[in-house]
Amino acid sequence: MEVAGQLASLGCQVTLIEKEQETGGHLKNWYHLFPDRRSSDEVAEYLNKQIDHDNISIYVATTILQMERKNRTFIIKTDHGKEIYADAVVVATGFDLFRSERKEEYGYGIYDNVISSADLELMFRKGELKLANGKTPGKIGLVHCVGSRDEKVGNRYCSKLCCITAVKQAIEIKERIKDARVFCFYMDMRMGGALYEEIYREAQEKYGINFIRGKVSEAGVTINNNLVVKVEDTLAGRPLKMELDMLVLMAGMEMSEGGRKIAEMGGLRTGENRFFAAADNHYGSNNSNIEGIFYAGTCTAPMTITETISHARAAATSVINYLKSGKS
């Protein structure tokens, strides 16, 4: 959306193809954004304004079936029988959230009160933080690195956002349920962004959130349908077993299924992490291995929204330079 807006404002004719019913991706399901707890709706509103431009044609609920290049023109065929001709293509297929049910040992989709970080955001949006039986949870655990830094599921990389998302969500839980006891189970706290460390400290000092260094090995339920988790507390050096009312899984980011198909049909190179591989990691992160095809945002790696918007603007610059010079 940002690339489209930038290119349109620079005078390009842009066609935006979206596979979902509406644009906005995961952002529209999120509640507040870290680190300043801004409403995601505000950012969504900004992006929607960006694409509200006479130079932009939008096709929603549209899937690309074929992409080929003839001379210097890309021909894109859609499932609605449309043929779109383009001088350049920007791939902005985003990411898929890791399907938490793949970590079978956590019981997502099996135990009533095991939810994902995305489910929790939806609860925040609805203003209903409740257990399956309608009661208010008193003891809540958040599991970091679900589907990230995990060889068992084939994802060695860090999804980068889950630590700060967990801290943000833990605070949001405490703000809604003052008496709640909240536990974050982490491998490492990766607080690399601006204001991240500050919010992490605030979570501990102001909100009394407990951070336990260790991976949850499994979840089960008691006869009262309370969750039981087993954790290794690596700082205390002992195994831990704890009953919880709710377990929130901080789902990581993966290459999107749509992106994978486009990589196949376009002959685009992907990396060890299965995201699109940039032509150069330092000064060509928007460039692909094919002249005229560019990348924007989380289709290349996990990114925050701030980084995604910056990356999109850089992609627009790369496209303009290509259209002027004929070289990526």
């Binding site: 040992e105 009533d112 089960g220 349908n225």
Partner: protein
Amino acid sequence: MKKDGKKRIWSEYQKEIADDHFFYVRSCIRQSFFPGSEQFFLHFMRNVLGKDVFENPSHTTCTGIGYHSDIVPFSTIMTVIARHFALMKESGYKNIAISCVTSFGIYTEIIETWKHFPEELEKTRDYLYKATGREFDIPENMAHTSDIIYKFRNEIAAKAKNLLINRKTGEPLKVVEHIGCHYSKMFPKYGVGGAEFPNVLSGMVEAWGGEVVDYPERRHCCGFGFRQYLVQANRGYSLSNTAKKFESMRPFKPDMVITNCPGCNMFMDKWQYTMREMEGTVYGENGESVPVLTYEELAGLVMGYNPWDLGLQYHMVQSEPLLRKMGIEFDENDKFRTKDGRQMPVPENLINV
């Protein structure tokens, strides 16, 4: 608990189980501790279903217990397994049916090793040929005997004389299913239902009318763990694992435990005696302990076989409370009599008598 979630996982771990023509490899300890189990399996397969199950008298131990005790080197156990495959090839079979979970784990570990390190396969071919002059093929189909009973669970249900229902209350019996660690925890794809929510035993329980108990320590090891038990000084560790499981399942008031591993069955059965002797703790209702059956013994009860023909009397925890709940008639006097009426010695200190 959402059953659909489990079904989704199960659908991802459906293994192909051969239908007929099995090369059967026995367990070292099953016929000693639970003599009716293998007997029932062979009888059911051959005489009830009319399947071809072949045994070769030259088959030996897989040496798994020695391997897990660091006595038998990996190259040796690979060669022993290769010899079993050679016997299978010479007998003209391609489907192997493995009676023991330890052995099943050994077979899967070795086959996976050969897949990922083909040079190990070549070395093993060489060792076997030099030692015995034999050659072998890797089985086309490999199943644990519990997989096979799972495959035919509905045929058993169709012939059921005693469903897993409490005859007095009409309620389903509550069954704890315990899967041996080496069945699918190492390689989930080899187990029916995977490693976290295995379906191999729960599928039988549900097909036969019972209700599966999901308790917090369901996945925990029974406590056998080879060196926990084989090293005498570590046996307290073995016992504490079993105690942890029984403490965890106790609030659910299980009517029985079924297992698919000989080691698990032995320990969950016999450690109940130990816990009762040491601290007077029992984990069943009415001061009784919880019967621990093999899946074949349970299948036999469901099909209406005499409990003493199934060998239930050879467990430490006796099954009478379960038999009464299921409404199965039995003659206490026949319990330790041979078929021709001779009285056998009666073990002391049996539980639930």
